[in-house]
């Protein structure tokens, strides 16, 4: 889905932290230490950060600077953590957020946007 920019024509090769492991819903993934959790998830092809409370719709990165709070997830047990401004650390436990909990909704599957 998405990947790192190996070399940028203006910015060159970006300095990144060491590669660390973390988990998303129990699955082990890798990212660079210190980069926002959202960036690491993006590189791993993860688009959905949470499902909303009322309509159970998927949300992901929207503003990427900590303002819109769309990208919040459960990080090390703390819900509503803004993943776009929270730096990734070794061994972080990240969970998809359903409403404000880590428990998927009864309907299990995410609901698609309503079609007319």
């Amino acid at each position: 889905m998405s990947e790192r920019i190996p070399e940028h024509p203006i910015l060159g090769v970006q300095k990144k932290g060491r590669v660390v492991s973390f988990t998303l819903d129990g699955k082990t993934l890798q990212g660079c230490e210190g980069e926002p959790i959202a960036a690491a998830l993006k590189v791993n092809g993860v688009m959905v950060h949470r499902y909303t409370q009322k309509q159970h719709r998927p949300r992901g990165i929207f503003c990427a600077i900590g303002r819109c709070t769309d990208c919040v997830m459960i990080v090390d047990g703390v819900p509503n953590t803004r993943t776009c401004i929270t730096p990734l650390r070794e061994g972080m436990k990240i969970q998809t957020q359903y409403g404000v909990s880590a428990v998927p909704f009864d309907d299990g599957k995410p609901t698609a946007a309503p079609k007319k």
């Binding site: 909303t52 409370q53 009322k54 309509q55 719709r57 949300r59 929207f62 503003c63 303002r67 819109c68 709070t69 769309d70 919040v72 509503n80 309503p114 007319k116």
Partner: protein, 112 residues
């Protein structure tokens, strides 16, 4: 008189629109139809709509939807957007945990 204050003014009936189920306030998942309906139910100011539907009262504090809600309410009332007073600004300006809000500490450490 400011047209928002003249509550006897006839703003016409609520007419359903095809995009009424569109989300406007992303945080609180409030739709365009709900906002339009609230205006016809008598919520003529941003503050009233907010208290009624919680638009702009979620985690982002109206960062994204403030302008959108204003546009919808103004259109429904047939008034220019500038006649609508924006929502009150209050502390805390950003979402904050109560344990932090109550944790008043001394001085900001400076390197002086």
């Amino acid at each position: 008189m400011n047209q928002v204050n003249d509550r006897n003014r006839d703003i016409g009936p609520f007419v359903p629109q095809p995009d009424d189920d569109q989300i406007i306030c992303r945080c609180e998942e409030v739709t365009k139809g709900e906002i339009r309906r609230a205006v016809h139910d008598g919520m003529w100011t941003i503050t009233e709509v907010r208290r009624c539907l919680r638009t702009g009262m979620g985690l982002c504090q109206g960062q994204t939807c403030a302008k959108l809600v204003k546009r919808i309410v103004a259109a429904e009332l047939h008034i220019p957007q500038s006649e609508l007073e924006p929502a009150t600004s209050r502390a805390p300006m950003r979402p904050i945990e109560m344990r932090v809000f109550a944790n008043e500490d001394g001085e900001v450490k400076t390197d002086e």
